[in-house]
């Protein structure tokens, strides 16, 4: 395998992360955080940034370490590296953005258990060179973020009549707010609908493969 990444290869990785192999609606990974933080758009943005940061850098680090890491303990090493980056995010938020840190509460720490990160380390970064791994990690994060943003916009708009805390016309005045949308059940409904919708669009590609 060539060390240098050609333009085509990168494009393929990017396309996979965002569309063909999207972590949420294709791989259905990282659902726990999808359900937990999508009730407010702002929380979602911070969560997605933190996750993208973590997937990119842990994929990069795991890839750099892949030749010296003994196979038997690779998962321990992965968890350690992921935890390292997540704690970095946590320290940063606590020191420089305390409001966000309290509002996300335990979910920052729970990025460690987000299956996307470990999934990508195991499926990609452990086998490929550093640069493609970092690209893969980054775009998996972007793919995740796109879906989360869609879900959070739907939930905040219908549940609270606002987006990013800004009251929206019609929704803040004439709309009877669906409180259930900002509660956990709302996340299940929205997520299921979004996955259904995207899978419908993708149906043709799947059939082609068979």
């Amino acid at each position: 395998m060539a060390v240098a990444t050609t333009k085509n290869e990168s494009q393929e990785i990017i396309l996979q992360g965002i569309w063909k192999d999207n972590p949420i609606f294709r791989q259905v990974l990282g659902i726990c955080s999808t359900l937990a933080v999508t009730n407010l758009v702002l929380n979602t943005i911070v969560m997605c940034t933190a996750l993208t940061f973590t997937t990119t850098l842990s994929s990069l680090t795991i890839s750099l370490m892949r030749n010296s890491t003994p196979r038997r303990i690779r998962m321990m090493v992965q968890t350690l590296v992921i935890a390292f980056y997540v704690i970095l995010v946590d320290i940063f938020l606590k020191a420089y953005w305390p409001e966000m840190s309290t509002s996300l509460g335990p979910y920052v720490g729970l990025i460690i258990t987000n299956c996307i990160i470990m999934g990508r380390c195991e499926a990609y970064a452990g086998k490929y060179p550093a640069i493609p791994s970092a690209i893969d990690g980054f775009f998996m994060g972007v793919g995740y973020s796109c879906i989360l943003l869609i879900i959070s916009i739907i939930r905040e708009l219908i549940g609270m009549g606002s987006i990013l805390g800004i009251p929206m016309p019609f929704f803040s005045s004439h709309w009877d707010k669906w409180i259930i949308m900002v509660m956990p059940p709302g996340a299940f409904f929205t997520l299921a609908l979004v996955i259904w919708m995207f899978r419908t669009f993708q149906k043709d590609e799947e059939d082609d493969k068979k």
Partner: protein, 203 residues
């Protein structure tokens, strides 16, 4: 070397050691900042609960200076409340309250005027209640109800009543749909305000 039985152990040890060192370093480098943030949160809550005007885009330093100027720590005549002074005159009290919410402990401050009865405001500086439901306790509409309410002279000093109840001067309405948060908040709020009233009348 990779085949040696001790290699995975040594590897894990070294890796853990390196990553931990970096984290410990960073965490202690930002420790002061984190503590200052928490203190500032509390100071903001104290000022917000009292009738003190805070400029909209106040800087942390200005806020801290304002706090130092107006607020004195609890003394033996305030029963655990912070004292609000203008010059030498006592203008009010800020009583820190805390107790179990639905998800986590709720921390707040109740401002009380110098007559030791009239509530001047309430502010929560730490809570993890459900956004859109329990978390509404931290929002303006719920908090506004407290302003001007008085602590009852006898019995329970203050209560949060279910939505739709007829309220007297020592009662406010709960948050719609957030029964758990409201009940739990009422439990510790009424208890701590009653205790404070009793302690103050004994002084």
């Amino acid at each position: 070397m990779k085949d040696k039985p001790w290699y995975p152990i040594a590897y894990m040890f070294v890796v853990t050691f390196l990553f931990s060192i970096i984290l410990i370093g960073l965490s202690s480098a930002t420790k002061e900042r984190v503590e200052a943030n928490q203190q500032l949160n509390f100071e903001f809550a104290v000022l917000k609960s009292l009738p003190i005007t805070i400029e909209k885009d106040v800087t942390s330093i200005a806020l801290h200076a304002l706090y130092l100027e107006k607020i004195a720590p609890p003394n033996d005549k305030s029963a655990g409340a912070y004292v609000y002074r203008e010059g030498n005159a006592i203008k009010g009290y800020a009583l820190p309250i805390s107790g179990k919410g639905f998800w986590d402990t709720i921390y707040g401050v109740v401002g009380i005027a110098s007559d030791k009865t009239t509530i001047t405001g309430i502010y929560f500086y730490r809570q993890s209640e459900t956004p859109g439901l329990g978390a509404e306790i931290a929002q303006e509409p719920f908090r506004k109800q407290f302003i001007g309410k008085i602590l009852a002279e006898t019995g329970i000093a203050f209560q949060i009543k279910p939505v739709g109840s007829i309220l007297n001067a020592s009662e406010v309405q709960a948050v719609t749909g957030a029964t758990q948060t409201s009940t739990r908040l009422n439990k510790f709020l009424s208890q701590q305000l009653t205790d404070w009233r009793n302690a103050m009348s004994a002084i």
